[in-house]
């Protein structure tokens, strides 16, 4: 048995990749350099040589070869970063992309390009490093209180990724033309036209590899338990800090050159481990090798067939697309240790405080915010505080939006509360389940393939894809009885599909971008009175029905066994609740887009206000959700007047701010 394992080696999967790469490379080069096949190729051609020859040699020398080299180096860098992260966090699904490091680095560069271009001259990788480090810190502090359990960490990573996505969407929405270049870079294009990127990355990678090599032994001891490692004289904290810092640095260096390359950092370490690299030293050696080859193979395939594609597909986005199915395949094979729902104190606190006064306060706030949203606005002449004489404009333009925002807020809040109570995970939200992303994918694809985009068409496409996403979720989780950890991971994988698709669309600089972004960022702009009214009516109806599920949601957080013991058929209940969450989310997404944090935020705020039992919690968070979305919609209309920031984005920005502020409490 052992000997079989020892014979299985990552070399067996690396070799075929090498062969594929060589074949495609030869094929590509023989097209560019006709002399190659007869062996009459000289690499160094003076500028006096015949023109065609100078050009084709230059293309090979300064475009093809650097591109292949950078693919190998970036793949290796991400593979190395992935191994380090997975080792330090003892987390099989940690990687630069899942932990939000890559997108943090990217946001840093976006912000610097727009607001402080001087910083980039100083060194874009340091900007990227700062961004990556900050987002990793946020991710780790968000999951700290759960002992950095793998799923908690990755979930926090997803939340940070979503938040960064919202931030960069705002930037793109308002700077569409300036961001032409950044969008391509962001999607991970490996195109090269000199050796400068290679010369930049190579020394950094070598140094990082040497440091990682020196840390093999102490890092290997982390696989034992911490006290064991400590007793051997290792400062565990310093070791962790150093290796995490190292992995962020390598990621940032790679990202600052070629943008986000999805999932190589996750796939390389996992796959080499699966095919037999069992010790850390083996993984540190093979993951970069395999990562480099994986990226090179993908890139060569794209290079080979890109001429047939009418639109550009950047390699980084492509690996991202390939990575999502890989993650789906991986999930059932992961051992997720020590992540039993850590029921927080608030959940168990069954004696609820007197909450009626709180309800009253919320009601007052709701009323005030609705009045403000309806009657106060900016105009070219300044603020207008009175709506008299503007009834037409209030009824036409403001009322539908307030109704829709409130309705969507309630629906998302209910979905969020349900999913958080059901999974026992405070970071769970409808966005995290992937239903919002699935809906958005449907919208993007529709807009891309139809020349005449109408609202009913989008509604149809959105609901269809929400249903498909739900079906995928159910199919993949039916066998495991809708176990919460796996459910959330499936959602993460679906969400992971959304980012690369968005990147590809944006990278092509299609003039329809603004339309798509406006839709994706969730504006109440397109809502008319009847839609707004029906959204709110639906919301009220669902709230009225909440007593039906309240008992389930009181019992589920107590754990599967307790719930079973109390006579709850857990699997069936989970399926029903899941379907419910999906429907609510799909409706809300169509109105306010996939990015709002209302579903994550409202249940938290409601719990903080003292609503702990299921029924008050549901109703309380519904009110908070409505309040949040109404305020977000109003703020979005006023802050950059006359430009309007979509309500979904404002809510996401507010929600993210809340989380960063709330970190102190963890």
């Amino acid at each position: 048995m052992i000997s079989i394992h020892q014979r299985a080696s990552p070399a067996y999967i690396c070799l075929p990749l090498v062969i594929i790469c060589v074949v495609i490379t030869f094929n590509l080069l023989s097209h560019t350099l006709p002399g190659l096949s007869h062996g009459s190729f000289d690499f160094f051609v003076g500028l006096s040589a015949p023109e065609a020859k100078v050009m084709s040699t230059a293309v090979v020398q300064f475009s093809v070869l650097p591109r292949m080299t950078i693919a190998l180096l970036v793949g290796a860098a991400l593979g190395l970063a992935g191994v380090l992260m997975q080792q330090v966090l003892r987390n099989p699904i940690a990687s630069p992309t899942t932990l939000g490091v890559a997108s943090g680095a990217q946001l840093g560069l976006l912000l610097a390009t727009l607001f402080a271009p001087g910083l980039l001259a100083f060194g874009s990788e340091w900007v990227a490093l700062a961004g990556g480090a900050i987002s990793l810190l946020i991710v780790l502090s968000l999951s700290w209180h759960r002992g950095l359990a793998p799923v908690a960490v990755v979930l926090a990573g997803l939340v940070v990724n979503l938040y960064i996505g919202a931030l960069s969407t705002v930037l793109i929405l308002f700077h569409q033309e300036e961001f032409r270049g950044l969008m391509i870079w962001a999607a991970g294009s490996l195109a090269q036209n000199s050796w400068s990127d290679t010369l930049h990355l190579l020394p950094r990678l070598v140094v990082a590899a040497i440091i990682a090599g020196l840390m093999v032994r102490p890092l290997g001891l982390l696989e034992l338990d911490e006290s064991g490692a400590r007793s051997l004289g290792i400062s565990v904290r310093k070791l962790r800090l150093l290796s995490l810092g190292l992995s962020v640095f390598i990621t940032a260096s790679a990202v600052s050159l070629v943008g986000i390359v999805g999932f190589v950092g996750l796939a390389a370490p996992v796959i080499v481990k699966l095919v037999g690299a069992r010790t850390l030293a083996q993984r540190l050696l093979w993951a970069p090798v395999f990562g480099g080859l994986l990226l090179l193979t993908t890139d060569l395939f794209l290079l080979q067939y890109s001429a047939q594609l009418p639109s550009m597909v950047p390699t980084g986005a492509m690996t991202g697309l390939l990575g999502a199915p890989l993650l789906l395949w991986l999930i059932p094979r992961l051992s997720l240790k020590g992540t039993a729902p850590n029921t927080s104190k608030a959940t168990l606190q069954l004696t609820s405080k007197p909450t009626s006064r709180m309800f009253l306060w919320l009601l007052v706030l709701l009323l005030v915010s609705s009045i403000v949203a309806l009657f106060v606005t900016q105009s070219t002449g300044g603020w207008i505080f009175n709506g008299t004489g503007q009834w037409a404009s209030i009824v036409n333009w403001r009322l539908p939006r307030v109704l829709a925002a409130a309705g969507a807020g309630v629906l998302l809040a209910l979905a969020g509360t349900t999913i958080q109570r059901m999974t026992g995970n405070p970071m769970a939200s409808p966005e995290v389940l992937g239903i919002s992303s699935g809906t958005a994918i449907g919208l993007i694809v529709t807009i891309y393939f139809s020349s005449d985009v109408t609202v009913p068409l989008l509604v149809l496409a959105g609901s269809m894809s929400a249903v498909i996403t739900l079906a995928v979720l159910i199919l993949l989780n039916r066998r495991t009885g809708f176990q919460s950890e796996r459910l959330l991971l499936t959602g993460i994988a679906i969400t992971a599909l959304f980012d690369p698709l968005r990147s590809i669309f944006l990278a092509n600089g299609d003039p329809r971008i603004q339309q798509v972004i406006a839709w994706m960022s969730g504006s109440t702009y397109y809502v008319d009175f009847s839609t707004g009214l029906s959204a709110l009516l639906l919301a009220v109806m669902v709230v009225a029905l909440t007593p039906l599920v309240a008992r389930w949601l009181d019992l589920l957080p107590l754990g599967r066994n307790v719930a079973l013991g109390l006579g709850l058929s857990v699997d069936k209940v989970r399926l029903i609740l899941l379907a419910l969450v999906a429907i609510l989310t799909a409706f809300a997404t169509l109105i306010v887009g996939p990015l709002s944090f209302a579903g994550l935020l409202a249940p938290h705020v409601a719990r903080m206000l003292g609503f702990s039992r299921a029924l008050p919690h549901l109703v309380g968070s519904a009110m908070v959700g409505a309040l949040l979305m109404i305020s977000a919609d109003w703020l979005g209309r006023q802050v950059l007047f006359p430009q309007e920031i979509p309500a979904g984005l404002v809510a996401a920005l507010l929600g993210g701010a809340y989380f960063i502020w709330g970190l102190r409490r963890y």
Partner: protein, 322 residues
């Protein structure tokens, strides 16, 4: 500034005067030319004043804005004026034009307060047509229709905008004026001018190459020239490629703005220097022209191109003088 002067010089030439490229006389010419162009504008505006000029029009799409401006109709409002000024540049908008926010989501409350009589949009923004039509009648004008002749599309758009704003007479004047400008230039351009590859830099590694279906391509063909880009293009007539694809035996035409990150390419990039066009010093640089524009942008692109080619021919031996 130089481009501006050269521009005037060109229009001077187009009016049929003999060209004299003596820089010292430039200021004198500028003065004279300004007078001439003022007269043309005055003629157009006196025409417009004679008709019903009180129609209050808003245009969401920049292509329609420039068409309106060319007819002497100043729109009451449009979207993203700051970006318009950076990307469309000409014709510049007077200060009283109200900015109503994003093109995809114009601020309706603001638009409603402007007492509009007409809103013009392109099919790109058809999703907001129903809601805008509550404010004022909305007209959707299709300029980019791959099934029809591109120049004819622009002419039709101009004519339609003229009809809708009661400026049909001006529309015909403008169409005729632009047509004759193109014809004049076409006549003077050497038939053996090598093909042109028109690109816009996106960053230091990527460019947009404009092929069939783009405004630049259409203008090149109207001038009787050839487009060197034969590759696939998207619905809007361009594609994103790397520098290594820019191999042409003819001219490489770079349309501004060149992003800051790309400026380094021209100095020390070996691949760039190996490009045939660069080796033979056949790189032309043109100021920003809106790549999704209407007649004014088309003719402005033709002007700039003609101008650059003329200068190039003056310095390049072996090619027939224009």
């Amino acid at each position: 500034m130089l481009f501006f002067l050269d521009n005037l010089l060109l229009s001077f030439r187009c009016l049929g005067h003999a060209p004299t490229r003596v820089r010292g006389l430039l200021l004198l010419q500028l003065f004279f030319l300004t007078l001439v162009s003022l007269n043309v504008e005055a003629a157009v505006s006196s025409l417009s004043q004679s008709q019903n000029a009180s129609l209050r029009v808003a245009a969401i799409d920049w292509t329609l804005v420039e068409t309106l401006m060319s007819l002497g109709v100043v729109p009451v409002a449009t979207a993203q004026i700051k970006d318009y000024q950076a990307w469309v540049v000409e014709p510049s908008l007077p200060e009283q034009v109200v900015d109503i926010g994003l093109r995809a989501q114009p601020n309706r409350e603001l638009a409603a307060s402007l007492n509009l009589d007409l809103i013009l949009i392109s099919p790109l923004y058809s999703a907001i047509e129903p809601t805008l039509s509550q404010i004022a009648p909305v007209q959707t004008l299709t300029t980019y229709n791959p099934e029809k002749d591109f120049w004819q599309n622009l002419v039709d758009t101009t004519r339609r905008v003229g009809e809708l704003t009661n400026h049909s007479a001006e529309a015909e004047v403008v169409i005729e004026h632009h047509r004759s400008r193109i014809d004049q230039m076409k006549e003077k351009i050497a038939m053996d001018t090598p093909p042109l590859l028109v690109v816009q830099f996106i960053d230091d590694r990527h460019v947009r190459a404009y092929g069939k279906g783009s405004l630049y391509d259409m203008v090149i063909k109207q001038l009787g020239l050839q487009n060197a880009w034969k590759g696939e293009t998207n619905m809007w007539g361009y594609t994103t490629v790397g520098i290594e694809e820019l191999v042409t035996q003819g001219y490489l035409v770079i349309v501004d703005p060149v992003p800051m990150s790309a400026e380094g390419v021209f100095d020390d990039n070996r691949l760039w220097q190996a490009l045939p066009a660069v080796r033979h010093d056949r790189v032309l640089s043109l100021p920003a022209v809106w790549s999704f524009g209407a007649l004014p942008s088309a003719v402005r692109f033709a002007d700039e191109l003609y101008q650059a080619l003329t200068e190039q021919h003056a310095t390049e031996p072996g090619l027939r003088n224009l």
